[in-house]
Symmetry: C2
Subunit: 320 residues, 2 copies
């Protein structure tokens, strides 16, 4: 009975909800938690989350065009407009459940809450080749829909051969003059329908059995070419204006290992339409969940639904 | 074989997608349809939809505070920013399917599309008593979360006894000095947990077996009282600053009768997490669907998912 709810009664400061992750989803969740007058703590390694790495956001309905940083700032200001919301730039290391109370441990302290919303996002898998990190957002990108329109009538590469990589290539083919899919294997492996689309698309060209070894900058510090491990069309240094790395994402859930959350084979947290996970009191939203089409707006809406469900949960625990 | 796809080949102008309804969901769907370069027609009785009847919107993450009309305008401008999107203020009377092509008939013409997104919204059921329509948004409201914060420390009424009405009363109790639930029946009938909450809430007072017969204005043209069919606390003209009518919604789906869409017992269209309905090529989003927590932001996200799914559908039909 060591983990019973009663043990927590003596704790000084139990918030209604702790939101782990301060990106679009977490901040939108915070807005609604504030509206529900819940005492809310948002903990995030980077306030604003991954959107701040995107130069131009044109796909958050309501804003024709703004920078990722501007959108993040607006969401942050909106969340901070509610007095019951506190936001701290702290990386969460662990979340555990004791009875009905959750404990979130950051690098700077421990916090308690009656509910948890996980909106910790994902990391893009990186190629880990020279030049990649230096050229990030200067020709090296990880999201075709976010950044593809910057390369109107210019040659680009997609690195990867999965279904996601194929979808990135198809999206890019709307803008680019040419899309090279660079894949280490024999044959790209998207879903059949996307495979058909790639093959039917005259702009897309597949470079198989090839690895990108290096990303090369021009004199202005933007990508000018990728170095392959074998020549293609006689060139080992293959010229492209952009390389979209699409070799997968890693959902950031390590800190929640102890909660027993159900995930799919990608490690994404399974949620229902109201952002419930399989663990009572734990809700999830945004890039970390098993939504197939992940956008800032869908993540924000999931955050809102997570806030609603967390409110139900916290109200239930109080009445019952 | 009269309904085979081939019969439609001779038609001059088949769009990729027709969006029925030009509220937040439909306009957000249009933004993404535009991003997917789909030839898109939005048809709506009122561009902007029901949000334009809301004075202050504080719950669309990213905008701390703006009017409903301002938000609608921003979404409309965003959608119009895409050249492949056309928006027409026309009420749709009927949508039918012929083979793989949909025909939408408005009061002004007939339009054809390969996919349809239904975002036609709902109507609030009205009490249909004198004063109600004149005082709309001047004390008479239909959404506690939208408009409740206007009545800080003031007495308000909720008309209705359903679970939704109870939830409206609970939301209002965060702001109002007193919330009167006026219900025609013996005993309000929310879900047990919400019933418990209403009973436990010291601000909420239930006036049962009472009907509102009339809404009365003060000299400035704002609600001052509601007239009951029997006196309560000695008053037939019962003073409140606001009356929130919560006697249900009517999903607007009559035009789609012929499509064979599955709905729940409220008449809401059933969708999955990617806004698919049961009918291939038909997607739905916003207040017209079976989401439990309906907000502008969740409707917008559903619209985005509907656009994504419509894009998949239209691309599939082209390749296959």
């Amino acid at each position: 009975m060591a983990a019973s709810g009663k043990k927590t009664d003596g704790r000084k400061d139990i918030r209604d909800v702790i939101i782990v992750g301060a990106g679009c989803s977490g901040l939108a969740a915070a807005v609604y938690c504030g509206r529900f007058l819940m005492r809310t703590l948002v903990l995030g390694e980077t306030i604003g989350g991954v959107i701040i790495t995107t130069d131009v956001v044109e796909n958050y309905p309501g804003f024709i065009r703004l920078t990722g940083t501007e959108l993040a700032k607006k969401l942050e200001e909106h969340a901070r407009d509610y007095k019951s919301v506190e936001i701290r730039e702290e990386k969460v290391i662990e979340v555990v459940k004791n009875g009905n109370i959750f404990k979130a441990v950051s690098e700077e302290g421990a916090y308690y809450g009656r509910a948890v919303i996980i909106s910790s996002g994902t990391e893009h898998k990186k190629l880990d080749v020279p030049g990649e990190s230096e050229l990030a957002n200067r020709g090296v990108h990880y999201c075709a829909l976010c950044d593809g329109a910057l390369y109107q009538d210019r040659p680009v590469a997609v690195v990867g051969g999965s279904d996601s990589a194929a979808k990135e290539a198809l999206v890019l083919s709307q803008w680019a003059s040419r899309v090279y899919m660079i894949y280490r294997g024999d044959k790209i492996r998207p879903e059949p329908v996307n495979y058909e689309r790639v093959i039917a698309n005259r702009k897309i060209e597949i470079i198989s059995q090839a690895n990108v070894m290096k990303m090369n900058a021009n004199e202005k510090g933007f990508l000018k070419s990728v170095t392959l491990d074998k020549p293609y069309k006689g060139m080992k240094e293959f010229p492209v204006d952009a390389a979209f790395v699409a070799i997968g994402h890693i959902p950031l859930t390590g800190f929640a290992r102890g909660l027993g959350l159900k995930t799919n084979d990608k490690g994404e947290i399974l949620i229902d339409r109201n952002a419930h996970t399989n663990v009572p009191g734990v809700f999830a939203a945004g890039d970390v969940v098993d939504t197939s089409f992940k956008q800032a707006i869908t993540g924000a809406a999931e955050g809102v639904l997570a806030a609603y469900s967390a409110y139900q949960h916290v109200s239930d625990s109080r009445v019952l």
